[in-house]
């Protein structure tokens, strides 16, 4: 570190100050509330939270939905990112617009659009029945499946873009070198392209998982009270139950999971990066 790069580091001060006041400080106050008992500090809210089976069900569901959302988004995003990385000119623009434009459409609009699609007399059920695949309408709205599909749809850009940018930057002579060394397309993909694109996969998955684990609007609109998630429990604690210690406790649990995801993905990215 010389004097010049020290001065450049000063450029981070406004951002750090902003985060400290608007993000870190309220979060600390919140965490403090979760351990603030009537007479001194206590962990009783945590014990209460984890001893309630309903809470454990919600916690497990939240993790499961976030994981499935991440996996579904990854399966759809990877080939998309691949095609985008190879796209040129107008096609690249089409891809980017198709990806980014839906983000500007509010989740509420999307959720109501999905309900038209998913409901018992909606498009999917009518089609299934017309084709004779099912006799009875399949229940889709208010299910976990619908939630995972909806969430994967909303968070797809956060999975596609990191993978796309990594594949885009891959040296194009690497797959060519693999081919000239006798590698079949499959061998080439599994031994060269896939491992080199993993940093993008890690980044995209971390984004998507973090977003999915803390989502509130999407589950509220798609599954409502039937399949609650941690964020909905937090909102209920603060808004309806006026139970600030409980809300703070659940927030702390969510925060610990988020921190774990961030640390794990940085460790994974660092490990992948170290080899390159």
């Amino acid at each position: 570190m010389n004097a010049r790069s020290d001065r450049i580091a000063l450029l981070a001060v406004p951002g750090l100050a902003f985060l400290a006041v608007i993000y870190a400080l309220p979060l600390l106050l919140l965490l403090f509330k979760s351990i603030q008992g009537v007479d001194g500090l206590t962990l009783v809210t945590y014990i209460d939270f984890f001893s309630d089976e309903f809470n454990r069900t919600v916690l497990w569901r939240t993790l499961r939905v976030a994981l499935l959302t991440t996996l579904l988004a990854l399966v759809i995003a990877y080939p998309t990112a691949f095609a985008m990385a190879r796209a040129k000119g107008i096609w690249l623009t089409v891809f980017l617009v198709a990806l980014v434009l839906p983000m500007s459409l509010g989740v509420i609009v999307k959720a109501f659009a999905w309900s038209i699609l998913f409901r018992s007399n909606g498009f999917i059920n009518t089609t299934l029945q017309t084709l004779g695949i099912t006799d009875e309408p399949v229940r889709m709205l208010f299910t976990e499946t619908a939630l995972v599909i909806g969430a994967a749809n909303v968070f797809l850009p956060f999975m596609v873009l990191p993978i796309y940018s990594v594949i885009r930057q891959l040296n194009s002579s690497l797959p060519e070198a693999a081919s000239s060394l006798g590698a079949t397309p499959w061998f080439r993909f599994t031994r060269v392209t896939l491992p080199l694109s993993l940093p993008g996969v890690v980044a995209g998955s971390a984004f998507t998982f973090s977003l999915a684990i803390s989502m509130y609007v999407i589950p509220s609109l798609i599954v409502g009270e039937r399949q609650q998630t941690l964020s909905m429990l937090i909102a209920r604690s603060f808004l309806y139950l006026r139970n600030e210690p409980l809300g703070s406790t659940i927030s702390a649990v969510l925060l610990v999971i988020a921190i774990f995801v961030v640390l794990f993905s940085s460790w994974l990215a660092g490990r992948l990066g170290a080899r390159q």
């Binding site: 060519e176 693999a178 060394l181 397309p185 491992p195």
Partner: protein, 364 residues
């Protein structure tokens, strides 16, 4: 001006046979009916300026680019319709294209693993070839930790370990500094010779091409201008382009004013120049001579021109005299050792043997 080839030569040159290859990009023909033959064990260079089609030809031979028409026959096998991974043609890329997520040994093992060999079976051949390029002590290093010369050695080892039928090298020395480049050229040439590898180098550097190859194909605008041994290219360039691209020259344009006894007399801006040639009087030609064949002290029967000196460069092993050029006419004379007594602006007489004059017809 190419040396006469017997039928035997024609046959033996047919290890790699590129027949009538045509390639166009977006409607623009960049290569038209290319024919190109290489003998087994031969080291050949494709030499030309950027955009001349040399890399296109290399990529077509490798199978990384598809030709519109034409055939690539290698060792009697028509590989035209085979994808790159079935051709058994290794490529050393300009940036070496080493796999950044693999170690040196894993990079070298890649081609053998792709051919289905187990990780235990590849150990011995990988160790052998790494020893061959003196990189055995780096086997477990990540490739990012290597210098340019070391990366090139690994790239060569990786390409050779699979015993390719043909080795293609795309500007393999361009990323190395000048001194290292010469060392690597000598090393690589010896290595390829000792293993009997047939190799094609693509380069824009004529010194490099002359240093590493048995024959050089000089390319321009998607065509081979001349395909010959380095000495022939230099002494008997087939066109003004080859004369200009390969080596330095003093050259001037003029008109044939007399033709008698197999000697053409050309009137140029700096005097009459004679050459062994047969042209009709009035033909526009370019005459030239290699700078080291010029003497500042010509005898009477030599061609003689008057040149005004623009610069005198004392380089130690040689002294280079630059005349003032006019248009496309360039004047250059190389004298061995250190010469004194020349001054800028001075007009001098240069001469050379009539037999050393190079002459080509040019468009009027």
């Amino acid at each position: 001006m190419q040396p006469k080839t017997t039928e035997q030569d024609q046959k033996s040159h047919r290890y790699l046979d590129v027949v009538g290859v045509t390639k166009s990009f977006k409607g623009t023909v960049v290569m038209d009916q290319m024919n190109f033959r290489v003998a087994k064990g031969e080291l050949v260079s494709l030499l030309g300026p950027s955009g001349c089609g040399k890399t296109t030809l290399l990529r077509i031979i490798a199978g990384l680019l598809e030709a519109n028409t034409g055939d690539i026959v290698l060792g009697g096998r028509n590989v035209s319709s085979l994808p790159a991974h079935k051709r058994n043609i290794s490529v050393v890329f300009q940036n070496y294209a080493l796999f950044p997520h693999l170690t040196v040994a894993e990079n070298v093992a890649f081609g053998l693993r792709a051919r289905g060999m187990s990780s235990a079976d590849v150990k011995a051949p990988v160790a052998d070839v790494l020893a061959l390029v003196r990189m055995d002590s780096f086997a477990d290093r990540p490739v990012s930790a290597l210098s340019g010369g070391q990366q090139q050695r690994v790239a060569v080892a990786r390409a050779l370990v699979v015993s390719p039928d043909l080795l293609l090298l795309d500007e393999p020395f361009s990323a190395l500094d000048r001194k290292l480049r010469e060392t690597m050229q000598i090393e690589l040439k010896a290595l390829l010779r000792s293993r009997g590898i047939t190799a094609i180098f693509v380069t824009h550097d004529q010194e490099e091409a002359m240093g590493v190859s048995d024959r050089i194909a000089v390319m321009s605008n998607g065509k081979i201008e001349q395909f010959a041994e380095p000495s022939v290219l230099y002494a008997q360039p087939a066109s003004p382009f080859v004369m200009d691209f390969v080596g330095l020259s003093t050259r001037m344009s003029g008109r044939v004013t007399a033709q008698a006894d197999g000697i053409a007399t050309v009137e140029t801006g700096v005097g009459a120049v004679r050459a062994h040639a047969g042209y009709t009087v009035g033909t526009m030609v370019q005459v030239g001579v290699r700078p080291e064949l010029i003497t500042p002290d010509p005898s009477a029967e030599m061609n003689q021109i008057k040149v005004q000196l623009n610069d005198v460069m004392t380089l130690g092993s040689k002294t280079v005299l630059h005349g003032i050029s006019s248009g496309e006419d360039k004047f250059l004379c190389e004298l061995s050792g250190i010469r004194t007594g020349y001054a800028r602006g001075e007009t001098v007489t240069w001469g050379w043997a009539v037999a050393d004059t190079l002459i080509h017809e040019v468009a009027a």
